[in-house]
Symmetry: C2
Subunit: 252 residues, 2 copies
DNA sequence: GCAAAAGTGTTAATGGTACACCCATGG
DNA sequence: CCATGGGTGTACCATTAACACTTTTGC
């Protein structure tokens, strides 16, 4: 299955896979990191299998490292996709026909799989020189609004991840790991608007954000724009992480 | 594995189990439905395995029906527990020693399992005459504050279910399926206080609840109390279910 | 100087918090 | 008639929504 330290299927947890929805933000668009499979005109979420002696979350991190060279991503488990209908043997057939996997793995690949969905927010610019593994030919960001043809139920997985993310915005901040270290208030707002898919009032947004007390105003401004230069902010990481733990807007 | 239409382990999805946290409300306490295992002084969440040709959610419903005779419960998936450390072979040993499972299933039971947690809210009084399957000797409600000795990580699963439930109260109502058809405002409040583990102001609670517009005031009152008889309410099921879908208290 | 977008302010409506007071009931 | 708990009201405060006006910048 793997190129370097080849993993034996006997050591892999049967019938279980993981899939990661990596969200990035660029050009006022929400983007997802996808892998183009070799020989097939379809894309896939970075994902893979978990070894029997590894925790699922740990295994998921290993998968990301091995498939696209990303380490230490904060992943959040959001759902287990366990419908029978998500398994499609035509997919395995193609993989074998194109010699991406060998014939003797046919049976193993054709077993019924359930998959655990994880998502993470990653800074777009940091994921430029990713490596890809031997079953993928490239790794690219795609706008969530213009997804290419994808294998299995990967589009559904992305949809569910996006829904979960939207809902979490009601009780948690977003932005750290998704924006560069320094950013302007309008940039942060654009991120929120993109994730939520709706316009927000500029003035109310700013006030509300500042009231959360997770931002540090620097005394620098973003220069070179043909209008008033906006202030640069940073997240107060201590308070930001505390807010993630405690949650905002608790009603009871 | 099963008594009547015996399920063959070849047809079961390997390494995957489901566990159900059934919440009930009685005597101002939050209770969990637990099964007492035969021959072992430990209790377990009702749970089991999923057949290869069944959706996980469907399989979970079947498990509940087969183990405790409950049907048509609205189950909510909340987490996949996938740590290696949750597997304990001493448990399998005991099951075999006490002939609850046969020797030839040892290997199958000793494989590493991940388990999907589901929870549901069920009306306490409706679950009186539950049947139990052949590996359990009884089925009882236990206060979440006084849980008996439990197998594996089942206490952790209950804790996580409770945390999830608390968090969901910020965006969804609770009570339908957990209270009888008619209930008083103080009873509803007691439910909220129990789940949230905190006291709420009587007058503000009532106003807020009524503002959600999911209650129907009947013109009856709960008689026989030695103080002013409280009004009886019912949930407007249409609006209640709509509220579950739409969510309350969206901040953006 | 003008367009574009940032920064700041104001106001009304809403909802939450923290109370006080009266009412019905059984003992 | 009184203790107990239910029902209703109110005043204050914080937050939200919907706005107007001023400031800075590049061209």
């Amino acid at each position: 299955m793997k190129n370097k330290k080849s993993i034996k299927i006997e050591n892999i947890h049967p019938g279980l896979s993981v899939d990661c929805v990596l969200f990035g933000f660029d050009n006022n668009e929400l983007k997802i990191l996808l892998l183009k499979l070799k020989s097939i005109e379809k894309w896939a979420l970075p994902g893979g299998f978990v070894e029997k002696d590894k925790d699922v979350s740990e295994g998921t991190n290993s998968v990301l490292k091995e498939r696209i060279g990303l380490e230490n991503i904060f992943l959040k488990q959001f759902y287990l996709f366990g419908n029978v209908s998500r398994n499609e043997n035509s997919h395995t057939k193609l993989l074998i026909e194109h010699k991406i996997i060998s014939e003797d793995l046919r049976e193993w690949f054709q077993q019924r799989f359930v998959t655990v969905g994880y998502y993470a927010l990653v800074e777009y610019s940091k994921v430029k020189e990713t490596t890809v593994d031997f079953i993928s030919e490239s790794c690219e960001w795609h706008s969530i609004n213009e997804l290419p043809e994808m294998i299995l139920d990967h589009k559904k997985i992305i949809l569910k991840a996006h829904q979960t993310l939207k809902k979490e915005l009601n009780s948690e901040p977003i932005g750290l790991n998704l924006l560069p270290k320094q950013f302007t208030m309008p940039e942060l707002q654009a991120l929120y608007e993109t994730v939520l898919e709706k316009k927000l009032d500029r003035r109310n947004f700013s006030r509300k954000m500042l009231n959360y007390r997770i931002l540090i105003a620097t005394n620098q401004r973003r220069a070179g724009v043909r209008h008033k230069a906006p202030k640069l902010y940073e997240f107060d990481e201590i308070k930001y992480n505390q807010a993630i733990l405690d949650g905002f807007n608790s009603v009871w």
